[in-house]
């Protein structure tokens, strides 16, 4: 288990240092505040998990937000019923979302290609609609599931009276606000990254890559591919549940809109943007999207006016109006454009860009064989 190759170990250590040092090196970028950092971690986990399914097997799920939402609900219910401690909530969320993923995977994986995508989408939309309507006793509908002072919290009550004031999740009695929450999430991201790395490099991971490049051939070779894809789906569903639970830990409110298909689309965007099939790519994609979402949404017309100040009168006004369409509320327009450009020109995402630049800079030397690099033309399972 711990026998890692030198490259893997370096990658893992590098990743760990980068993540743990985020509050320091993100300072100049104006992103080193806990709320955003927590989101970096959470969506990083979500993307890493999604990549185990999409990046390795090529099965494009459009319903992963369902597991994310289920994880959130499970965690909040654990806070309400058992204890405000984060650990049981995590465990509970991972188990529930894993079971949920198993059911959906069992049904969806009977088809592949576009049919698989539509099936996962259909299941996720079903969960979303049900969470809004019939399951209101469990999900609290549109208001969202919240912690209240009157929650039973049986385990907590057994060990004495709960603390006064608004209940917030804790870890062994320690508050999880601010940077504590960030480090709590960071530990899970590093752990998740480590597991993803082990999975990718294991014989199981090789099998998944084989399914991606040619499932028919795998079948002819005598492998039953279903258990492998099923396992990959459930693992990635558990990652999504973990991410959802962490979001509930940092902000104990679970709403159905987390399960909407736009949320599923977002994790697809993150994975593609960073580079599907690579290990660090999806994490980078998640960070980039969350970072720019944060930065771009905050820009308003007065900031733009200052930025375009050097232009002559009239022209600067036009520049403000035009660029104003791309920031603030219009941030998704920028995201969509960037995404289209990426898919058209750089299907491998940021990671492929990095690889191409390295190849350009040192054309003589062999490009460094990074462990996460995939074959140049991966064919997903159709």
């Amino acid at each position: 288990m711990l026998a890692m190759s030198r490259n893997d170990l370096l990658l893992f250590l590098g990743f760990t240092i980068v993540v743990l040092a985020m509050p320091i090196w993100l300072q100049p970028f104006g992103a080193a505040y806990p709320d955003l950092l927590q989101r970096f971690m959470i969506f990083g986990i979500f993307a890493v998990g999604f990549n185990i399914l999409f990046g390795l097997t090529g099965y494009l799920s459009f319903g992963h937000a369902a597991f994310f939402g289920v994880g959130s609900y499970a965690a909040v219910w654990s806070f309400k019923l058992l204890s405000l401690d984060a650990i049981p909530a995590m465990v509970f969320a991972i188990v529930i979302s894993g079971v949920f993923a198993l059911i959906i995977a069992y049904l969806s994986l009977r088809r592949s290609g576009i049919y698989f995508s539509i099936l996962t989408l259909a299941f996720a939309q079903m969960s979303y609609s049900l969470a809004y309507s019939v399951l209101t006793p469990i999900t609290n509908g549109e208001t969202g599931l919240q912690l209240t002072l009157n929650d039973p919290r049986y385990v907590d009550r057994m060990f004495g009276e709960a603390l006064p004031g608004q209940p917030v999740p804790t870890l062994l009695g320690q508050s999880l606000g601010g940077f504590a929450g960030f480090y709590f999430c960071a530990i899970f991201l590093i752990l998740g990254f480590f597991i993803a790395q082990r999975v990718t490099n294991s014989p199981f991971g090789m099998m998944l890559k084989g399914i991606k490049s040619n499932q028919t051939r795998m079948n002819y070779t005598g492998f039953n591919t279903r258990p492998y894809t099923l396992a990959a789906f459930v693992i990635s569903g558990m990652y999504a549940g973990l991410a959802g639970a962490l979001l509930a830990v940092t902000d104990p409110l679970a709403g159905a809109e987390r399960m909407q298909w736009t949320a599923s689309g977002e994790v697809v965007l993150m994975t593609i943007l960073g580079g599907a099939g690579t290990l660090v790519g999806p994490v980078i994609g998640a960070w980039l999207i969350k970072y720019f979402e944060n930065i771009f949404s905050a820009i308003n017309d007065s900031i733009l006016a200052r930025f375009w100040d050097f232009l002559p009168d009239g022209l600067d006004h036009a520049a403000v109006v035009v660029s104003g369409k791309f920031v603030g509320e219009g941030w998704f327009l920028t995201l969509g454009l960037v995404f289209v450009l990426i898919v058209v020109f750089l299907p491998g995402g940021v990671m492929e860009g990095v690889r191409r630049i390295t190849a350009l800079v040192s054309p003589k030397s062999k490009p460094p064989a990074s462990p996460e690099s995939t074959s140049p033309q991966p064919q997903p399972a159709e």
Partner: protein, 343 residues
């Protein structure tokens, strides 16, 4: 009891017609170009906003201050006069009243242009790429289209009035010799259904009875051979993409009085339309139409209070439930051809 069932049946027709029209366009694109087009809902939405734009242009007004008249507040009265009325007189008023149907005239060239530009500009590079990448690029395009619309028209739905003559409800029951005032149905929805029937019939006739349609059908069956016969099949497929965009666009235009369009109306319909296409069978035009109406009608039945009392929440999930069951039982959908998009 029969009346109730009949009423739900016709209630499902207009929604079913919208599903069928979008699914038809999706299937046209898939059948000819082999591209899974996630931007198709955005085309529906763009069509709807063509109608919005047309009406906004029509209702541009000149405001003149008339000092001889006073408003109730004692200030000089502002006289608003729509430019169209000033220029065309009574015809202008008719134009404003019937702005939704008239906007089809401007929608057709606009959508044709958008469709062809989209196909030539981006989608043609994706024929050889995997379906997953086609989904991704068209998904990105859909985001761009809807965000552009949001930037220019705002996030709120913009209601479009239907022509005054077509408001109100028709007593279909009495028309069919049943008891009066039991089965009434909004006239506009009837118009929408007839309109959809004409468009669907037109597309089928076009494919069936014209030389162009024959070549396209041949190309759908075997693109390579048609190309080898010296026919520029690519150009015809480009035109088919434009046609699919037009079908989606005018479906959107005519739907605006039923549902005020906002920027994400396309996405809402797209998800359902994909389900429709898959249920009908990927690549089958009759399948898309049949499944569209089937799901529309089923949805209408599921919204009945009696049914909802029996199975709570069924109206929310019926379409997805049907899709899941059909996909698991009939892998190729209702009318799917063998060997299309199978693993």
């Amino acid at each position: 009891m029969f009346e109730v069932i009949f009423l739900q049946f016709i209630n499902g027709l207009d929604k079913g017609a919208a599903y069928a029209l979008i699914a038809l366009g999706l299937t046209l694109v898939f059948g000819t170009l082999g591209v899974v087009n996630f931007a198709h809902g955005a085309l529906f939405m763009l069509g709807a906003f063509c109608a919005v734009l047309f009406r906004q242009l029509l209702t541009l007004e000149t405001i003149t201050i008339d000092p001889t008249q006073l408003s109730p507040w004692g200030a000089p009265l502002e006289v608003r006069e729509p430019l169209v009325q000033a220029w065309f007189g009574d015809f202008g008023a008719v134009l404003v009243n019937y702005s939704v149907p008239f906007s089809i005239i401007i929608t057709i060239p606009i959508m044709l242009l958008i469709g062809i530009a989209l196909e030539r500009g981006i989608i043609k590079h994706f024929y050889k790429r995997p379906h997953a990448e086609q989904i991704l690029v068209t998904f990105g395009l859909a985001i761009v289209a809807q965000e552009l619309i949001k930037a220019f028209f705002g996030p709120n739905p913009i209601p479009q009035p239907m022509p005054t003559d077509l408001r109100g409800a028709a007593d279909i029951g009495a028309f069919l010799g049943m008891q009066a005032n039991i089965i009434t149905y909004p006239i506009w929805r009837l118009v929408y259904f007839l309109f959809a029937a004409i468009i669907i019939g037109g597309v089928f006739a076009f494919l069936q009875f014209t030389t162009f349609g024959m070549v396209v059908r041949a190309g759908m069956a075997d693109r390579e051979t048609v190309g080898l016969l010296g026919i520029n099949i690519d150009r015809r497929f480009t035109i088919m993409f434009g046609l699919a965009a037009v079908v989606a666009g005018i479906a959107g235009v005519m739907y605006t009085p039923i549902l005020p369009p906002n920027y994400h109306i396309g996405m809402d319909f797209l998800v359902l339309s994909f389900v429709v296409v898959v249920v009908g069978g990927m690549g089958s035009l009759p399948g898309a139409v049949a499944a569209g109406f089937l799901l529309g009608i089923l949805q209408s039945f599921a919204s009945m209070t009696q049914v909802k009392a029996l199975i709570p929440g069924i109206d929310q999930v019926i379409i997805y439930l049907v899709a899941v069951v059909i996909l698991l039982v009939l892998p190729r959908g209702l009318f799917g051809r063998r060997g299309v998009m199978e693993a």
